[in-house]
């Protein structure tokens, strides 16, 4: 009865309002889509992509960092090993050098000693030769003197000379 008794006009669709609503809504949809909702949608998408990218990037950076860290540790360990190796080598080298030097020194010393020995020997030989020569000269002188003084008995003289010579030879 309500519809009949009263003018319940909103339920009666009229041409004008239908036409204007359709026109206004379609223009609204078009304009908003082109100039407002579209750009907002794209901007939101872009921002979300940016955020995702940033997150991904930071994750990647973190991973890289941790990679780098472990690599650093590895490098450090390697360096440490290298260092100790180097130290070890250096030590060894030092020892070998020292030993070598020692050996060389010993050798040298021995050589010197040997040389000295040879020299001494030579000197001694020279000295002996010298003595011999001097003994010869002395013998000659002695002989001279003996000859000068006691040229009386040959046998005696001869015996004397022989004893003298033997004496020299014994040396």
């Amino acid at each position: 009865m309500l519809f009949v008794l009263l003018d319940f006009s909103p339920i009666k669709p009229d041409f004008g309002l239908f036409f204007w609503t359709a026109l206004i809504f379609l223009i609204f949809w078009l304009m908003m889509g082109k100039l407002a909702f579209g750009p907002i949608k794209d901007a939101l998408k872009k921002r979300e992509n940016d955020i995702q990218d940033a997150l991904d990037e930071s994750k990647k950076a973190r991973e890289e960092m941790s990679n780098m860290k472990s690599e650093n540790a590895k490098l450090m360990a390697e360096a440490n090993a290298e260092r100790s190796k180097l130290l070890q080598e250096a030590k060894e080298m030092k020892n070998s050098i020292i030993n070598e030097a020692k050996d060389k020194a010993k050798e040298e010393a021995n050589k010197i000693v040997a040389n000295a020995k040879v020299e001494i020997d030579n000197q001694r030989k020279a000295a002996v030769t010298d003595i011999k020569n001097q003994a010869g000269v002395m013998a000659i002188e002695i002989a001279e003197q003996l000859l000068k003084k006691n040229l009386k008995g040959d046998a005696e003289q001869e015996g004397l000379v022989n004893t003298l010579v033997d004496k020299f030879n014994l040396n």
Partner: protein, 440 residues
Amino acid sequence: MIRLAAIFSLIFCVAFSLSAQHNHHGHDHSGHDHSGHNHAGHDHSGHDHSAHADHSGHAHGADGDHGGCGHYGDFDVAETAMHHISDANVYSIGPLQIPLPIMLKSDDGWELGMSSKFKPDLLGHGDGHVGHNRYVLHGGIVKRIADASFPMGEFNVVGFKHDKLEIDGKEKDVTYVCTGDAMHLLEQKSTFDGGLFGGGMSSYKDFSLTKNVTSMLIVCLFLFWIFRRAAKAYKKQDGKAPKGLQGMLETFVVFIRDEVAIPFLGNKWEKYFTFLLSVFFFILGLNLYGQVPFFGGSNVTGNLAVTMVLALLTFIITNVSGNAHYWKHLLVAPGVPFFVKLIIIPVELMGIFIKPLTLMLRLFANITAGHIVMVVFIGFIFIFGKSGESLAGASGAAVGSTLLTMFMMAIELIVALVQAFVFTILTASYLGAATEEAHH
């Protein structure tokens, strides 16, 4: 803010004093006895309903004053409510009647101009004192004298009279216009409900920029303005966090995207996103606009023509974008036993039309109901105040109805959001069903 508050309180004061005044006027009017224009006059006017009429038999006995052209009787809350939710050719804020452009099409051509050409009082009920080419302005709405033989051109309007008339066995509420010498039956603008809701074709169609159209333009321009600003803000502060208006609107946009578009439409959401957003904000904006006090309380989304356009667009877009899978399911219903098919296919076919029809009616009914309840609650003041006779009743009801109205307004705010959301999410679900890929 202070200036705004000052303006509001000024408007409120003016509206209050004027409404008190005009109530008084109303009584004067009802007291008027245009006894010269009695029912016998109807027959003289020669309108085509005369066959039905021994009008005196239908004279409504509620109050004898109705005999003449006095247009306002006792306060009738239902009538007031119906008037407030109607579309109109004036934009009325309280008693202030702002004229709007009219574009009326009849067989006699276009009637153009402003509704002020009917010379209604600037502060009043929107009843024109002058008619033009059979058109008159009654209650802010253009109506036309049904009698085709009525002479063209300008004529004086003395008053209007409501009566009941039996047409095809149904009692109908009709209005007559007094032109000084006779009373003439008025007809309303053409509607295309085919008589289903009491309307039908008449001698003219109203293509005016009515109150609803004006409200729609205001809301659309406002929405465009704020969203354009937000869209520009994205460009201006690219790479920065949103702020202010942009941040507020983004909440809604992201909500519709994440809760409506993507869940129902999957990877095709972008194609329909602007439509969903447009529907959502168009409905939400108009729902809320109708609730702003002192803005005319336009009942736009509570008008069937408006919801029909939106539902029709949903219907068209859904069925145009329906893929083979959708149509196959509708028309063949694969994997269903034959005797079930006999039931299910007609039901599915009806569903194509029922879905948009429910969309149309749900929004219309919810918003209209909200507006009616609001007017009725405020109407309590006049009912209990006996249209100004009982100050105690009026003031008592004023307290109660203020509380009730505030409560209703809070609920209506939720309804405004919920109905916009429901319309959008259902549209998305219909679109989702129509575009879903076969995967089972």
